[in-house]
């Protein structure tokens, strides 16, 4: 399971989450221009990607071992 889950029906591809991520884990898909997490194992669960999302379409899901 990915630590961040994006609702692509609502995402507008603005790229804010990609710019915000302090570990540079989020990239944009070259074809669709939409974000995806390329390095899920390196997530800090900080919420910086979600905090400024204008569409409120990003969820954080904790892996079982971090609960």
């Amino acid at each position: 399971m990915l630590p961040i889950q994006i609702d692509y029906k609502r995402c507008n591809g603005c790229g804010i989450c990609e710019k915000n991520c302090p570990g540079d884990l989020i990239y944009s898909d070259e074809k669709t221009g939409l974000p995806y997490i390329k390095y899920p194992d390196e997530c800090w669960f900080c919420g910086a990607c979600r905090i400024d999302c204008p569409k409120n379409c990003l969820d954080i899901k904790f892996p079982l071992t971090s609960l």
Binding site: K19, N20, C21, P22, G23, D24, K38, Y39, D41, E42, C43, W44, F45, C46, G47, A48, R50, I51, D52, I60, K61, F62, P63, T65, S66, L67
Partner: protein, 555 residues
């Protein structure tokens, strides 16, 4: 061949977190050219990326405790004289009151009290309510915007690898773009290091190494670069631990004890009093220390207990502090199925790291003008020893920027030494052409295994010596790590820095034949705190060897 960028500036600030952004802004105010470089995006980067909730400030509102004098006396006791309080005096105490007002003018909600005043709380044995509870979710983007608008040139997604020197002076730095791999050469009259703390060298209780108390993307670069450039690092053997919710490295402890929350063991007993007379109001180290012994002696698991708090205290904690301090706090609670107000919340001892929280004594050695021992090189924030915390780092950064700006104004630009640039270019890209078949994750896992097995909570002579030789063996394998792209290259250089930091921790710990600051340095073979060891370790690097000198405490 990677394309190259050459950038000349008066002041170069490395690391655009809480301290670096303030350093750049302050240097700019001196009227010099300033470049701020960060491997992340600056607007949301570093430990304060997603917000902070406690702002340390001495406001001089009347009571005795709210004065610089009382604060300094307490800080001296907290750090056991291992930190020169002149730094706190010159950086933090001269600026915290003013900065509080400035933040408010910027639109950061500082006065959150129902009466329109500040809400102030205390924690960690403070003599007064120094922590303003505030809504700092917008703090990082706001100060970044102000710095950029003031004319600071931002260079983002560039990881700095090493400093450039000429005749014993720092004259610039080199780095690379973490996506494109392009090479960056910076020439500057003064450099301010502000890359924060050091994490990821110890195993994480959740098994997820990036699930760290402080930012996992801070890997002690400044400390490692400073050592390689000839500067000194202080007291690395004191590794810091805190208490976090089970499997989730949120730095919630400050908020919890600040609001009067308890720590209880499996029998429901408040146990911290057994280990420190002030209980949960004692210094931070008392809590991991007590929790360790409760667990070792069979009284774990341990818990945060907030059930006794008033409804308004619970509301403040759950709505205003915890989810501002760690943006995902309530997601964790929800997904774990607990309500922090009514349920006990299991806790753990966090992974070890080098964060400069208030009272930390480890990092780059600087004087009260934020100068390292190398001309042209300044440092501020969590990477240096001075004053920790968010507000402490911001003020420390501000002071470092002001000092570096003033120095740059009176200095000529020095030449770069071309063979040194060429050598560092080669070193930077070596992992891209490595013929080895390790990836950075495998090598980093090995580092964590070594540090956790031999150099963590329970230390002894033989274990530390074994750790040191394992680290040497791992260093030999470093050339066999293969990087496929800019991201891999960034993580590989992070590991290079972590290897040096780990060696520094182990070297300091092996020599210090006593125990001090609870779990931070607990030698099973020398369990007592000894007067003859009441001094600071200063490490420097020469020809690949770490040398120690000891410095008497400040009184």
């Amino acid at each position: 061949m990677h394309s190259e960028h050459f950038i000349q500036t008066d002041v170069l600030v490395v690391g655009g977190g809480s301290a670096g952004t303030m350093a750049a802004l302050e240097a700019k105010k001196q009227g010099v050219d300033v470049v701020l470089v960060d491997k992340a995006g600056i607007y949301r980067s570093g430990c304060g990326a997603a917000g902070n909730d406690h702002f340390l400030s001495v406001l001089e509102t009347g009571p005795d405790w709210d004065t610089p004098e009382v604060f300094l006396k307490w800080y001296q006791r907290l750090t056991q004289g291992l930190v020169d309080t002149k730094i706190a005096e010159n950086t933090f105490l001269k600026r915290s009151k003013q900065l509080t007002v400035e933040l408010e003018e910027m639109g950061i909600p500082m006065k959150e009290g129902e009466d329109g005043g500040y809400i102030r709380t205390r924690s960690f044995a403070q003599p007064g309510d120094y922590f303003i509870n505030f809504d700092g979710r917008a703090l990082k983007p706001k100060i970044s915007k102000i710095a950029e608008s003031a004319g600071v040139k931002f260079i983002t997604n560039v990881a700095v690898v090493d400093l450039l020197t000429n005749q014993g002076k720092v004259v610039g730095a080199v780095g690379f773009h973490i996506r494109t791999g392009e090479f960056y050469i910076f020439q500057a009259k003064a450099v301010v290091l502000a890359t924060g703390n050091a994490t990821r060298m110890y195993e994480n209780p959740s098994g997820l190494p990036f699930n760290a108390w402080h930012s996992p993307y801070n890997t002690g670069s400044a400390q490692a670069m400073a050592l390689r450039a000839g500067a000194e690092v202080k007291n690395p053997e004191f590794v810091n631990y805190t208490i976090t919710p089970k499997n989730f490295s949120a730095s919630a402890l400050n908020a919890v004890v600040g609001m009067g929350g308890y720590l209880v063991n499996a029998k429901g007993e408040r146990y911290v009093f057994k280990y420190h007379e002030k209980g949960e109001q004692g210094p931070r180290w008392a809590m991991p220390w007590g929790t360790y012994w409760e667990e070792v002696e069979g009284r774990g698991p341990c818990y945060f207990d907030l059930r006794h708090l008033s409804d308004s205290a619970k509301k403040h904690l759950i709505e205003h502090l915890l989810p501002v301090d760690k943006n995902t706090f309530m997601d964790y609670c929800e997904q774990k199925g607990i309500d922090p107000g009514t349920d006990l919340m299991e806790v753990q001892i966090s992974e070890g790291q080098h964060p400069a929280f208030l009272g930390s004594v480890s990092g780059i050695f600087v004087d009260e003008h934020c100068r390292t021992t190398v001309p042209g090189l300044y440092a501020g924030g969590a990477c240096a020893v001075g004053i920790g915390s968010l507000a402490g780092s911001m003020c420390f950064g501000q002071a470092a920027g002001a000092e570096a700006g003033a120095y740059a104004q009176g200095t000529e630009m020095s030449e770069l030494v071309q063979p040194q640039v060429d050598e560092l270019r080669e070193l930077t890209y070596a992992p891209m052409s490595s013929r080895g078949d390790f990836n950075y994750t495998e090598a980093e896992n090995k580092l964590r295994q070594i540090m956790s097995d031999y150099v963590s909570i329970s230390r002894n002579e033989e274990g530390l010596a074994a750790g040191l030789s394992e680290l040497k063996a791992l260093k030999k394998l470093f050339g066999q790590i293969k990087a496929e792209n800019g991201h891999d290259l960034m993580r590989t250089h992070e590991l290079r820095d972590l290897l040096l930091i780990s060696k520094a921790i182990t070297t300091g710990a092996l020599d210090r034949k006593e125990s001090r600051f609870g779990l931070s340095h607990y030698r099973r073979d020398f369990p007592e705190t000894k007067e003859e060891w009441h001094k600071s370790t200063h490490l420097s690097l020469k020809d690949g060897v770490l040398n120690i000198r000891y410095v008497e405490p400040y009184n």
